[in-house]
Symmetry: D2
Amino acid sequence: MIRFTNDYSEGAHPKILEKLLATNMEQTPGYGEDVYCQQAASLIKEKCKNDNIDVHFLVGGTQTNLTVIAASLRPHQGVIAAESGHISTHETGAIEATGHKVLELPTYDGKLTARQIYDVYINHQLDETHEHTVQPKMVYISNPTELGTIYTRSELEAISNVCRENGLYLFLDGARLGYGLTSSENDMDLAFITECCDVFYIGGTKIGALFGEAVVITNDTLKQDFRYIMKQRGGLLAKGRLLGIQFLTLFENDLYFELSAYANKMANIIKEALQESGCTFLISTSTNQLFPILPNETIEALKKHYSFLTWQRIDDKHSAVRFCTSWATKEEDVLRLISDLKGYYDCYDLKR
Amino acid sequence: MIRFTNDYSEGAHPKILEKLLATNMEQTPGYGEDVYCQQAASLIKEKCKNDNIDVHFLVGGTQTNLTVIAASLRPHQGVIAAESGHISTHETGAIEATGHKVLELPTYDGKLTARQIYDVYINHQLDETHEHTVQPKMVYISNPTELGTIYTRSELEAISNVCRENGLYLFLDGARLGYGLTSSENDMDLAFITECCDVFYIGGTKIGALFGEAVVITNDTLKQDFRYIMKQRGGLLAKGRLLGIQFLTLFENDLYFELSAYANKMANIIKEALQESGCTFLISTSTNQLFPILPNETIEALKKHYSFLTWQRIDDKHSAVRFCTSWATKEEDVLRLISDLKGYYDCYDLKR
Amino acid sequence: MIRFTNDYSEGAHPKILEKLLATNMEQTPGYGEDVYCQQAASLIKEKCKNDNIDVHFLVGGTQTNLTVIAASLRPHQGVIAAESGHISTHETGAIEATGHKVLELPTYDGKLTARQIYDVYINHQLDETHEHTVQPKMVYISNPTELGTIYTRSELEAISNVCRENGLYLFLDGARLGYGLTSSENDMDLAFITECCDVFYIGGTKIGALFGEAVVITNDTLKQDFRYIMKQRGGLLAKGRLLGIQFLTLFENDLYFELSAYANKMANIIKEALQESGCTFLISTSTNQLFPILPNETIEALKKHYSFLTWQRIDDKHSAVRFCTSWATKEEDVLRLISDLKGYYDCYDLKR
Amino acid sequence: MIRFTNDYSEGAHPKILEKLLATNMEQTPGYGEDVYCQQAASLIKEKCKNDNIDVHFLVGGTQTNLTVIAASLRPHQGVIAAESGHISTHETGAIEATGHKVLELPTYDGKLTARQIYDVYINHQLDETHEHTVQPKMVYISNPTELGTIYTRSELEAISNVCRENGLYLFLDGARLGYGLTSSENDMDLAFITECCDVFYIGGTKIGALFGEAVVITNDTLKQDFRYIMKQRGGLLAKGRLLGIQFLTLFENDLYFELSAYANKMANIIKEALQESGCTFLISTSTNQLFPILPNETIEALKKHYSFLTWQRIDDKHSAVRFCTSWATKEEDVLRLISDLKGYYDCYDLKR
């Protein structure tokens, strides 16, 4: 069984394990107050071209989302998100469990628009009974989105402007940020994201680390007492050094971006082969997630040897699936997948 | 600087790192549904001599405490704990953040008694206005406690009986359970704890793992949908295998108990040397935490070379400190500490 | 200014004030343990034809909704509701503030269908990642809905069956229940609602009381410790007698239904006059809320003398408005409104 | 049975009912936006000698406490209170249900001292692990306290100073404020309380109203969006006018203070009679609550004709009870109680 199920099927990139081994018997303070966390934070500040940011390290994405949102909002305030956003769909109501409503908006491609956000804001403002409704105060976007799509520089800028003009916090979930920033269609960098967002995070779990998300806070209001909230929500790792060491390794020599680019490249090989075969996609992506529409028979046949997600029913004979690559995807597995797909092509016709 | 600050100053026991390395490139499902978590759970069931228990793996102690309590209680119910309990003092109100009051009881040594628990229960029952007060429903104890003390078999049995007779859940925080079960004064084993408790956990973070706590649920009511709550509270690790691999390593060949016994032994060497010097202790312990009372000058002098906690002011010339050992404590460091302490003894007199 | 804004613009029906006056100096126990609450509960049990129900009295609708839902659900469970449901839109996130997600479904007329509910349930069950999503456990419906529509006997029965077969609690918000049960299109009674629901309430605030909602719990599981949750959420009125006295008055001699029927009659007079004039409605209703579509000029002109809600933009020249009647609506005001509407009819044409 | 159980055994003062009747058929906007709420707020601003305060009306005390605290604190912050404080003991964990820990301090007489508050503050500040503990941010005091005692001007001023100097909010629960301000020992007025507190409330439920608490917010930060939180917590009464009308009536011609003084006078008659008989008290009070220590036989005998609370066991033969008077207490009942007490005096001896 070869897994294209997700980007966290293996352990960590070998360089990370090496570093963990090399430092294993050193004694350090706990809870992120060690030298490795400090070094990793410094390196991230450098990459973000901003020294006036706070960097914190948490273990996982849901934990990060709920901690950031709980730390930012008053009880009557909610967070705007795409209906397909991770906080809307796949966190078992983690945000609501902190007391806040997720104000979900429909999207075609997982991306919110500046216009949508403004409309929610202004409709709330103009509503005479606004005190009876949740006050929108934060905007949550993911880049790449849960559908593998990415924001352009101008789209993010427009969203950022709407947020700043109207007192909304902008929070970017970067669980797969590396894949976005190394995509062939990308026109942004960490420094630009730092400029645009009040808070965002750089995902490690899905890009080569054992685990870990690096939260960057740019807004002074949101910086205050953030570690208290981390502790309260169970997110202050005792051996915090593990997070520092991992992010230090990922950002020394830009390993993070190298791994991300590799995964994108693997995905692109599959994408081009499928396109050549005339296959269509649920949505066009340039990152490590592909959503091809395949005949159900093809899917059944593939599942004997490959593990991947069946994403969505398209019609009674076709479904969209998700192939996901990572730093650990072997090129030989990619080639085998392509070859098998082409084999099925002759039988079933990938075209519709 | 030599650290006797806590039991999580280093990384993991080398055998754990070896196993992580050896399995690193294997592909597994996420979120604890991999073969290593299954194997580790099986092994723990064996050690607990009970096949009818659920085993879940979480990353840290605060996360585990808040997840277990949130999963167990209805909104109007509270959890009884010692004033010195971890959930009472050192989790930034994590339990209250899930909506539940911690009903704190004073103790001399960090240990609750069956009598105290019964009194809280019966006073609530007899109170005519009981609907206006928090309903006690769960009892939280730690073994060893935050003061290094341990429960005896008969004490735990008495507590368990009071709980069962009165419909209270018994939850044992075993963040340092190994140190307790290998203490010279201990008369319990995992099987007995499994019999007595509705839910407890076996701590890995403080005993040789990079991180990790193994939750054991014996009460069928508390088993239901526990993984939902783990996910909601940010405690379902994406690469769940990391937890499985660690606990598998710790419980194969009883490494867990071996490491615990070693730490206790190191602590005991210090304890005996101090006793010989006539030093008194805040409280008598037989696990990996010692609370000697030292002259403030001795403390100042020691702090130049050693890191440890100043625990509590005793009088204007003396304070209690905490020395904490672990699987990673070097015997040479212990001997050097003793030697230095004896040196100071001549100057300052450890006796009062 | 004549108000057709809502059904709570006046104080209470005179008989209620009379009874409050007559009993004012009597001494009673607090918190709903007085004889009037007992008598009112008995009367409601009689009307519901079920002696095995619990009856509690709360002050307002939002308070009731959040108390019932908080009392019923575990943390990972959510409540299914119409997008237009009161808990979805007009309670400032009160349900989320208790930690629970509202699973919102689109509707045409404010009414959920048994099929929609089943689909949510079964999709969750079949989802392989269901532990990562909120578990649907309760269904919230309003009768009449926020759009003035009502469920038929067979619709409610179908919903109740889906809920029972699949372990979902059915909760009916009856803030305007009287208007529903006395509507010309209604084919249900209190006894039938009692049979179908696990919990529901009979609204007083909008039907003649100063305030008050009578919660009826039929499901034994939901009965347990309900008063604790009421107290915790600030819903246990000190002078609970005020609620008992009001509901006693409303249900003696069926005043509740008499007042409801009167409001429906007043609404119907307006409805028929508008229909005669060729006016169309956003939605067809037979209760005390009407949603006619009027030319914007007509609306402007009317607003000089009448207060009512502009509900929704229809096109650039028309909007839907809401006229709401109550037990206190004067027939002369209704006739004046009709006359004025007919006057505007000549100028602007209510037809489109 | 004559009730000295509490100060909310009857309905409302007749003048309030008169006013409710006189205005009953007027049409007003809902949710506190009516003219009566405005007039009552103006009158209260006048009494507080401060025009720059916000006044809101809620239904009950627990509701008010949880709404104010939820509106004021971030998730990691807690509220300091006396162990005997209402939020500590008698609200079924309402504060914890909003996510906040109550930091309980022991007191002799229900009153916190400036020193105690400072100690909590400074110990938290100096604690190296302060991020692992709840941050004290608000101080909750009651005046009169739950033990009937009152703060002096200088005590309140000292507390206020400690709070202001250290960034703590001061919140005064005035559920029985009138009794305090008309006590013979009182040296404060509303204007002084307004100066000292960030937020406080003037209780109506226990002093002549059917229900109602008037919240006064002086701190601009706490004013923001308070009505949203009221709505979210179920505290925005639909017929808000009922609260406006009641407080308008209570503060026109100082009826509030007149009723309070009357109740204190009734209590004082009992107090003096008991003192003459040599009876001692659990605590000395000058408001409407008395806590005499009586022989258990006396208590048993009295309970045949009087309802009152048995407060606390003193020794095997004596208990402290609570007698509570109100605006509605009849002087004849007071005299009868005294006479009966004196009768029992001859038999049992109130002295110890």
